[in-house]
């Protein structure tokens, strides 16, 4: 055993103490922030402050038309509605493996509520091994960030392709997991690829908008602080000192308070918060330019005794369309009630359809090895990988 638990035990104890303290602080602060939301529910001066702050790259939540303390029940679920979800997984390229390749596997599900039909499920793997796909500008295998971004584009492409067809038959909700924006502003992805991926991703959002599909992404256990920052602006900043406030206010407000406990204190099961617009960041600027500005709301998908707050992100054309917003809200609440886990059923299934297990990866590598040997190519991992595997197999210390 190389992780000597006796050596880390004191840090584990400190970690526990710190987590308990944070939870206690949040529990005591949440009602105060909730009361601030109520006090500023309709506040023209706050909106003016936000307008000024946004120009200075402040990153809080931007109020829209609904009162800030809104706690809105889901509309009734239509008799017939279709839910579509897609998710992906991957095998990263490994230059120490038996061959240089990577795999992206996208799973999708179409669930036609109200028909009694068996859902349509699919898993679509794609294997890449050409140099153009594999190698970055430095001739090293494409880094994980690049593969992740390509996977996200593949997921959104599948989501749009399936949802656009379904929308011809019934109102359709398209669900993705995690943030709705493609995060490609990262090291390891060339500017040219960034532009291409972003273009392809936005093209899928264009298709979804064209077919009037209620498109949303679901973030479980969100850690965002944007509404808390908005309340900080309301409470601690005067209209004529916004510039100084934005310039000098650093770190997480209210001792690390996040939005989640605030909405736990505000929302009953099934209810959603008001819609907010996400302040522009490096991720969101292209979306704003393309008419897909990122909006969000919080929704309580838990039970009366166990609130469970999720953050839902939508493009602006969903956020400002009452019908589409209602579909997404009602569908998410219904989905989270199917299982006891407060996580949408179709996203769970899409993940299940996409995931590549370690056993499947081993089988795939074996298949490659057999094919290489059949063609007279030596198939073995690098000396480094082989030696490490041997040492780890018989690991003593």
């Amino acid at each position: 055993m190389t992780l000597e638990l006796s050596k880390v035990a004191p840090r584990v104890s400190e970690l526990g103490r710190s987590a308990a303290q944070r939870a206690s602080t949040r529990a005591s602060t949440a009602p105060r922030i909730r009361d601030l939301l109520r006090a500023h529910r309709v506040d023209a001066e706050l909106r003016e402050k936000v307008e000024r702050a946004v120009k200075l790259r402040w990153v809080g939540a931007i109020p829209q038309t609904e009162p800030l303390d809104g706690a809105i029940d889901p509309p009734a679920l239509p008799d017939r509605m279709t839910l579509v979800a897609a998710d992906g997984s991957q095998i990263y390229p490994d230059r120490h493996g038996v061959a240089l390749y990577y795999v992206i596997n996208v799973g999708s599900i179409v669930l036609r509520l109200g028909t009694g039909d068996t859902p349509i499920t699919e898993s679509e793997p794609a294997v890449y091994f050409d140099d153009d796909d594999l190698l970055g500008e430095d001739d090293y295998p494409a880094p994980a960030q690049a593969i992740n971004a390509r996977r996200a584009v593949a997921e959104m492409t599948r989501l749009a392709t399936v949802a656009v067809e379904e929308a011809k038959l019934a109102p359709t909700v398209a669900l993705a997991d995690g943030n709705i924006a493609l995060r490609v502003q990262q090291e390891g992805i060339s500017a040219r690829e960034r532009a291409r991926l972003e273009h392809d991703y936005l093209a899928q959002l264009d298709r979804l908008r064209g077919a009037k599909i209620a498109t949303a992404s679901f973030i479980s256990r969100p850690g965002a602080t944007s509404v808390v920052r908005l309340m900080q602006l309301a409470e601690q900043c005067a209209l004529d000192t916004v510039a100084e406030f934005v310039k000098h206010t650093k770190g997480r407000p209210y001792d690390g308070m996040t939005d989640t406990p605030v909405f736990e204190a505000l929302l009953e099961p099934g209810q959603r918060s008001a819609i907010f617009r996400a302040a522009a960041t490096q991720w969101s600027a292209p979306y704003e330019r393309a008419g897909h500005a990122i909006h969000f709301f919080y929704v309580n998908v838990g039970a009366p005794t166990q609130p469970n707050i999720a953050r839902v992100e939508t493009p602006e054309w969903v956020a400002h369309d009452d019908d589409l917003l209602g579909f997404a809200h009602a569908a998410l609440v219904e989905q989270c009630r199917v299982t006891a886990s407060a996580y949408p059923y179709v996203l769970t299934r899409a993940d299940e359809l996409a995931v590549i297990t370690s056993a499947e990866k081993a089988n795939f590598e074996q298949m490659i090895g057999v094919e290489l040997l059949r063609r007279g190519v030596e198939a073995r991992p690098s000396e480094k990988a082989a030696t490490k595997a041997i040492a780890r197999y018989g690991k003593r210390r």
Binding site: L111, L113, G116, T118, T339, A340, S341, T348
Partner: protein, 195 residues
């Protein structure tokens, strides 16, 4: 009545005396408890057995849905799309080699991934003309022997024209001989196969 074999699943693990197959789904035409089934033997023959247990594996995802008011679409997704790992256990009761039915254990068990199919009515009738397999079933350790034997006799009677009344009477007589020392067990068995 079954005129043609139905594919039931593939062999997951096997031994000389019993084997287990994995099957995708429980549905009406999947063979039931006590059904006669067969799988290829590595020596070119066929291993014949009785289904003695059908197990649906625990699935944590399904467990999460048990308390919810689940709509039909979700149930169909689980039953028809997900790889629900139903496992069917088979007690080996004989085999067939070179066209001859042999009511004792085969020299080799079926191999992994071999396909299990149901026996046709003609094959069931031919196999059950000889009651030697009764002893194998009555001495089975993992199966519920009396229930299994009775179920197999009901299947065998059903495979015969007219319901197999005469066959069941003959089988009852054979059981009376085998279980002469255990009247209680015999009575229980006869009640289960009463025509």
């Amino acid at each position: 009545m079954t005129d043609s074999p139905i594919r039931a699943g593939r062999v997951m693990r096997s031994s000389t005396g019993e084997f287990t197959i994995g099957t995708h789904l429980l549905q009406a035409d999947v063979p039931s408890f006590g059904a006669f089934v067969k799988a290829p033997s590595p020596d070119g023959g066929e291993v014949i057995g009785l289904i003695y247990d059908v197990l649906v594996e625990d699935d944590p995802f399904v467990r999460q849905m048990i308390g919810a008011d689940v709509k039909e679409e979700y149930i169909r997704d689980h039953r028809e799309n997900r790889q629900v790992p139903a496992m069917v256990s088979v007690l080996v009761i004989g085999h067939r080699r070179d066209g001859r039915i042999l009511p004792y254990l085969p020299p080799l068990p079926p191999a992994a991934l071999d396909t299990l199919v149901t026996c046709t009515d003609d094959e069931i009738v031919a196999f059950t003309e000889d009651f030697t397999y009764f002893r194998t079933v009555l001495n089975a350790v993992n199966a519920r022997p009396d229930e299994l034997l009775a179920a197999s006799l009901r299947h065998a009677a059903g495979a015969r024209p007219g319901g197999g009344r005469e066959f069941l009477i003959r089988a009852g007589r054979e059981l009376a001989r085998l279980l002469a020392f255990d009247a209680v067990r015999l009575e229980g068995l006869l009640r289960r196969i009463k025509p």
